[in-house]
């Protein structure tokens, strides 16, 4: 009899009534054939596989992560609330031990959504994984979380949210940003001074195939996870590394995705991109589900799968090795680098220009971080968008020390309201979100 070695929960939210535009890759039809395939394989009837119903996230869940400008209702549709809710449902079920592993097959995706949200970028408005993780941290008291982003695009949103958080290990594996949206995710992007090295980027050359991806997991990701010792491993399971994906240039396959999942053993997987809706997604998702559940996935393959035509060149193999070595080196030297970057400085400042390609918005950020040996540091973001919006966002991290709490509160109270449309305070120790407005 067929049964799951690991009790596995699945949440479907295919958002059959939501699209960015009628012919956009992120459209109603995207998960249709995937759902057909999963139903036809009879996966939900397998002993040990459970279908869970997506809940709707609450505003507080969103505001624990994001500063939505002007407010969450303006940047989110009902589908966004349920898609993030699907991730939350999955996370809760894992933490309650009603399942061992879970997979949220939801859309819209989220990994390009950053801490401040003026609109949609890379088809994402809010970050499903981060909303789930911060809910789980708040509710179940977990601290150390790893997010492994295996979408073909750099998970720049998740990177932004956890840039200063040394309790979250974020590793993104993606097609080299010099050849693909959003262009970031270079090996030297490794986190802010307080959390250097818990952000790691492993950019891969175009046409990397199964061999390369498995190498990255075995030689870089697993050893780092072993050392980081997360309480929870989350996989941003994008499927656009597939050889048939219309937006990217990789040579990954369903067998490879299943194998990768069985090595990574994530507690929770959350669907991200993947736009080969007929040729890839049905097979990749079945492979991932079987791998999570510990069921034989050897016979899952795409109709036009030919491993010989997908082999990577020697040059690619060499490049992949180098990318892994760089990540390992960054990881090993993280403590020393933190000391060096902090030095005698009290505050670290950076400017970012962010483009919301989906909504055509430009944003300028000026960020100030309190450098601190005891916590992730108080954070202040002055954000101005070409929509005319100008806000100040103050963040007190969950692990904040008393000094950083004082500083952040002072920033929030003393900011000049004449300068901003709104001043937000995300107070994580108090689990509160406060707003000062004209």
């Amino acid at each position: 009899m067929l049964f799951a070695k690991h009790q596995t929960g699945l949440v479907f939210f295919p958002a059959f009534d939501w699209a960015i535009s009628p012919t956009h890759p992120e459209r109603e039809e995207r998960l249709l054939y995937t759902q057909d395939q999963i139903m036809e394989e009879g996966i939900l009837d397998i002993d040990g596989i459970h279908e869970l119903k997506a809940e709707v996230v609450e505003i507080a869940d969103v505001q624990r992560v994001h500063f939505c400008v002007p407010d969450p209702w303006k940047v989110m549709t009902e589908s966004h609330f349920i898609s993030a809710g699907g991730a939350k449902t999955t996370g809760k079920a894992v933490m309650n031990r009603s399942i061992e592993r879970g997979f949220a097959l939801v859309r819209p995706p989220g990994h390009h959504a950053m801490r401040v949200v003026h609109g949609g970028r890379g088809f994402c408005n809010v970050n499903n994984e981060a909303i789930m993780i911060e809910y789980l941290r708040r509710t179940y008291g977990i601290r150390r979380v790893a997010v492994i982003d295996t979408d073909c695009h750099h998970g720049d949103g998740t990177q932004d949210i956890y840039w200063h958080d040394r309790d979250t290990l974020f590793i993104s594996i993606h097609q080299d940003g010099r050849t693909l949206y959003p262009g970031s995710g270079m090996a030297d992007e490794a986190g802010g001074p307080n959390a250097y090295g818990t952000t790691l980027n492993i950019p891969l050359p175009p046409y990397t195939s199964q061999e390369g991806f498995i190498h990255v997991i075995q030689e870089a990701v697993l050893p780092i996870l072993e050392e980081f010792k997360p309480e929870l491993v989350v996989n941003s399971a994008g499927q656009d590394n597939h050889f048939t994906d219309p937006l990217t240039n990789m040579n990954f396959c369903a067998q490879g995705y299943a194998r990768m999942t069985s090595l990574l053993k994530p507690d929770i997987a959350v669907l991200e991109g993947g736009y080969s809706i007929e040729g890839a997604l049905p097979y990749v998702n079945v492979g991932i589900i079987l791998a999570l559940a510990g069921i034989d996935f050897r016979y899952v393959c795409e109709p036009d799968y030919n491993p010989d035509s997908l082999r990577q060149t020697k040059e690619i193999t060499a490049d992949v090795k180098i990318a892994c070595q760089r990540a390992l080196k960054t990881w090993k030297n993280r403590e020393a680098m933190r000391e060096k970057l902090i030095g005698n400085k009290k505050v670290d400042e950076r400017r970012c220009n962010i483009f919301y390609d989906t909504d055509g918005i430009y944003e300028n950020q000026f960020e100030s971080l309190q450098l601190c040996a005891d916590c992730s540091g108080a954070l202040k973001i002055d954000s101005r968008a070409d929509t005319g919006a100008h806000v100040l966002a103050v963040h007190i991290p969950t692990n904040a020390c008393p000094r950083c709490i004082d500083i952040a509160n002072q920033w929030y109270e003393s900011a000049n309201l004449k300068k901003f449309d709104a001043i937000y305070l995300q107070d994580r120790p108090e689990d509160a979100y406060r707003i000062r407005k004209k």
């Binding site: 009628p22 054939y33 036809e40 394989e41 109709p303």
Partner: protein, 561 residues
């Protein structure tokens, strides 16, 4: 006049209905070893002094196929399956004579691997030498394109008594359920066919030549010929009989729990505004998960004849039945005996009943009356606990009724409707120990047979339209037609409706009873390379299970009478 007959585990109930209401009713003991004689005897009794030409039709609900499956008495049946990539087809083996062969379709019904005719011939030859006569043919995604199943069927048909193509059983997804459903149809076919042909011949001999219908697990009926091709639809029709006998007496709007209290078991179901709740995907029986649509029922081992004992100092009731109550010559005390001691029932051997209850009372250190009170009270409370458990189980998944899917709905029944032999005694006590509004179905002890007689003929049709390929297919109907790429959803719905009407009339429905529902309607734009290339339309329609239109009046008359 209509004959309705329901075979139960202990009794077989039969009624004769006319425009004036319930003409006659009868109960005979079920002989599980000889259901044929049981049925013939029951029909003889009910038609005594009746002109057979006045019988308009007969509806039967039997435990024949259910028992065959539960007792493992299936006939050997062969299977040829085409799977293609995915889970290995051996995971879904039906036992011996199961033959996966090459051939595959993708999710949109495109061939990805041709059928290997040599493998098919080899499998057929092996099955022939094994003495197989009935073969199921099932392909993954055959509901999107049945071509492979049809090709294999054509190849092997000359060599076997009957071939069962999987795409005819249901328009729903799930290859494993299609395999199980098709296999069950093939494996109970000979038993079902032989039995019902004998019943038909026997009725013909008595001059009853009116059509015979068989009750299905979803509370609808099918005509004799349809039942021969799809005997699996008759599995678990028993609980449906009592539910259909109750619908006319449930409250609307309200949510009702139906409790059919029998000798061995109590069968439970839920009605939402008089519409029965369905199991989400299909019947699960033994190791088989099927596509066979069925009412959501729960059967618990608690009834009037449940064995009562003291175990580790605790009063235990059921789940087994050792025989009839001691009041009726049984050997073990039962809740019915408790009712004798409490003076609520008579007409049996009250002394023997008391003797049984006294044994329990001695172990409890109580009087016989006190023991009887506790036995009866405990039985009622256990039944209500199980009913709560059923409601919880229904609420843990999306709720489907025979009419629609109720997304996110949580049922909270406030009405309890009881039927079955001991119903009057239980009714009163349920009222005193719960907050339910409790009532009893009129003619409670034959309501199941009345439900059987009054049920409509029902069926379903699933239509897939792919405007890019200019094709509409309805797999269950072996329908495939080219369509104009500009076809609208409304036109597709009209097409599905026409197919449904044809099917319903062919399977014995009457034109008055063709109330239909759209169970599912989805339309997707198909975009390739940023261009709209077509639309994917999916429609599922049904003739709604319910009481025959002209007979709702009868149900009311039975109520008043």
């Amino acid at each position: 006049m209509i004959i309705g007959l329901d075979v139960g585990g202990t009794h077989t109930d039969v009624v004769l209905l006319s425009q004036d209401g319930l003409e006659n009713r009868s109960k005979v003991l079920t002989d599980t070893g000889d259901l044929f004689s049981t049925i013939v005897t029951a029909i003889e009794r009910i038609t005594e002094n009746v002109d057979p030409r006045q019988i308009h039709h007969t509806v039967l609900s039997t435990t024949l196929t259910t028992n065959a499956i539960v007792e493992g008495k299936l006939s050997p049946a062969g299977m040829i399956v085409t799977s293609g990539p995915g889970l290995h087809p051996d995971n879904f083996s039906t036992g011996d004579h199961y033959h996966p062969v090459s051939g595959a379709m993708d999710h949109s019904g495109r061939e990805i691997q041709a059928v290997d005719e040599n493998q098919v011939r080899q499998a057929a030859e092996k099955m022939r030498t094994d003495g197989i006569e009935h073969v199921g043919v099932v392909g993954k995604f055959s509901t999107r394109n049945p071509e492979h199943e049809m090709k294999i069927s054509r190849l092997i048909e000359p060599e076997f008594a009957k071939v069962f193509p999987g795409h005819r059983t249901s328009g729903n997804f799930s290859f494993p359920r299609r395999i199980a459903t098709t296999y069950l149809n093939a494996a109970i076919y000979p038993i079902h066919k032989q039995f019902f042909e004998a019943v038909r011949d026997s009725l013909t001999e008595k001059g009853i030549t009116a059509p015979i219908y068989i009750l299905k697990a979803d509370g609808g009926t099918m005509d004799f010929n349809t039942s021969i091709d799809f005997p699996g639809q008759s599995i678990l029709s028993g609980p449906a009989a009592s539910v259909m006998g109750s619908v006319a007496f449930a409250e609307d709007p309200a949510e009702t729990i139906v409790l059919d209290i029998g000798g061995t078991t109590t069968d439970m179901a839920v009605l939402i505004n008089r519409v029965p709740v369905l199991v989400p995907h299909g019947i699960e029986i033994n190791q088989f998960k099927t596509h066979i649509r069925a009412l959501h029922t729960r059967s618990v081992g608690l009834g009037g004849d449940s064995a009562v004992r003291i175990q580790n100092g605790e009063l235990v009731i059921g789940p087994d039945r050792k025989g009839p109550a001691m009041a009726y010559g049984g050997s073990d005390p039962t809740p019915t005996d408790a009712l004798f001691v409490l003076g609520r029932v008579d007409g049996g051997d009250a002394k023997n009943a008391r003797k049984g209850i006294q044994q329990i009372a001695d172990q409890m250190g109580a009087s016989a009356e006190e023991a009887a009170r506790q036995i009866f009270d405990r039985t009622c409370r256990l039944i209500l606990e199980q009913a709560d458990e059923m409601v919880r189980a229904i609420n843990s998944k999306p709720v489907y009724t025979v009419r629609e899917a109720l997304e996110g709905h949580q049922i909270k029944p406030g009405h309890l409707l009881v039927l079955g032999g001991p119903a009057p005694h239980f009714e009163e006590h349920f009222r005193s120990i719960s907050d339910y509004n409790v009532s009893r179905v009129p003619q409670w002890d034959v309501a199941n047979a009345i439900g059987t007689a009054l049920s409509r003929t029902t069926c379903e049709v699933t239509l897939f339209v792919d405007t890019y390929r200019c094709r509409a297919i309805a797999p269950e109907e072996d329908f495939s037609e080219s369509v104009n790429p500009r076809i609208t959803a409304a036109e597709a719905r009209a097409m599905a409706h026409e197919l449904l009407m044809k099917k319903a009339l062919r399977e014995g429905a009457e034109t008055d009873d063709l109330e239909t529902d759209v169970l599912e309607e989805l339309e997707f734009n198909m975009i390739r390379n940023f261009q709209l290339i077509g639309r994917n339309i999916r429609i599922k329609m049904q003739v709604r299970p319910g009481l025959k239109h002209d007979l709702q009046e009868i149900a009311r008359m039975i109520h008043n009478g």
